[in-house]
């Protein structure tokens, strides 16, 4: 059977799209599974075979609030990450700028231009 050039191209396109979807599903699956497990009860979470369909519960979200000061910890994470980024930017941007535009070494210039990009 002879497949036309156009058909060939279409098949190639469709295979590529399919491969992308499968890969994305594989890479995202652990995160999806984590989210799904967060709605399970303790017993459902360790059930074998694993449950895909179950009655969701919000129990875990209230338990974690009871056991720890979760909002505070989350806020701590946000403050440290934003603060560190801000501080690093304040110090690094002028330096990268001056390396990119005033430096004579090609290596330094490329490195800084890359960083600025």
């Amino acid at each position: 059977m002879i497949i036309g050039y156009r058909n060939m191209k279409r098949i190639k396109h469709q295979t590529t799209v399919l491969a992308c979807c499968v890969l994305a599903a594989i890479f995202f699956f652990p995160i999806f599974w984590m989210v799904l497990t967060s709605f399970k009860t303790e017993l459902q979470a360790i059930q074998s075979p694993p449950l895909f369909f179950f009655e969701p519960t919000l129990e875990n979200f209230s338990i974690i609030q009871e056991r720890s000061d979760y909002t505070k910890y989350a806020l701590n994470s946000i403050i440290t990450s934003l603060g560190a980024t801000l501080l690093a930017l304040v110090i690094a941007v002028p330096s990268a700028y001056s390396m990119a535009f005033f430096s004579r070494s090609i290596y330094q210039r490329y490195l800084a231009l890359d960083a600025l990009n």
């Binding site: 992308c20 995202f28 330096s95």
Partner: protein, 286 residues
Amino acid sequence: MKINLYKVLQAPSIILLLLWMIVPLSMTLYFSFQRYHLLYPERSGFVGLSNYDFFLTDPALGVSVLNTLTLVGGVIFISVILGLGISLLLQEAFRGRGIIRILLISPFFIMPTVNALIWKNMFMNPVYGLFAYVSEIFGLPVINWLAELPLLSIIIMLSWQWTPFALLIFMTSLQSMDQEQIEAAEIEGAGFWAKFRYLTIPHLGRAIGVVVMIQAIFHLGVFAEIYVTTGGGPGHDSTNTTWLIFKQALLGFDVGVASAGGVFAIIIANIIAFFLIKTVAKGMEK
């Protein structure tokens, strides 16, 4: 005038980096020649090279260095190959490509401890993990991943997290590729491999260099994943140099030996960095 501005703009970063480098480094060097054991604070003083002797004759050292290199090499190899492949696939334009991209990059935004917990509890657990379930379906023997293949387990976790990083860098780099050049090559009859070998790889040279360098920096100090999952075990099967130093300092309470280990790790990191920067710089000058 220009020279002055140049210096003023660079001064804060250079001074800060120097301080951040010199102070901890000199303290580590100082402690590495001292007896400094947290349980015997009264026994202190200069001990010469005995800390180094103790650390370098540790039977776990050879294993840990080998583990570190396997970890760094393995993760970089897997993430660069996968990242390259997926970024090439994603060059094809189709509807919903944005969502696919986000899904593919999302693992990079998971915290290392959470990453390790997901894999440890939900996938690699021999009783209720998904891997165990899947291998049971196919009638294969159930693997207790963290006990039997601890280093491979950690490589899998890290690769899952860092492939998106490589993918992100390669994707942005591929977007700046000259489309006319590719078309010209296609008209000349270049197939996929010819285009890949003579257009894509040279274009991505610098991006690959950057990915390898940044990943090497991060993976030389992998800690969270080991702490959460295997704890360096079983035996020393998943102990890397960072973990060995941690064990000396905080589980063995011996700051002196841990500092000697730190100096040793710095030397290793510098040897690797020397070759890496040389290759990356070579790629940049082209």
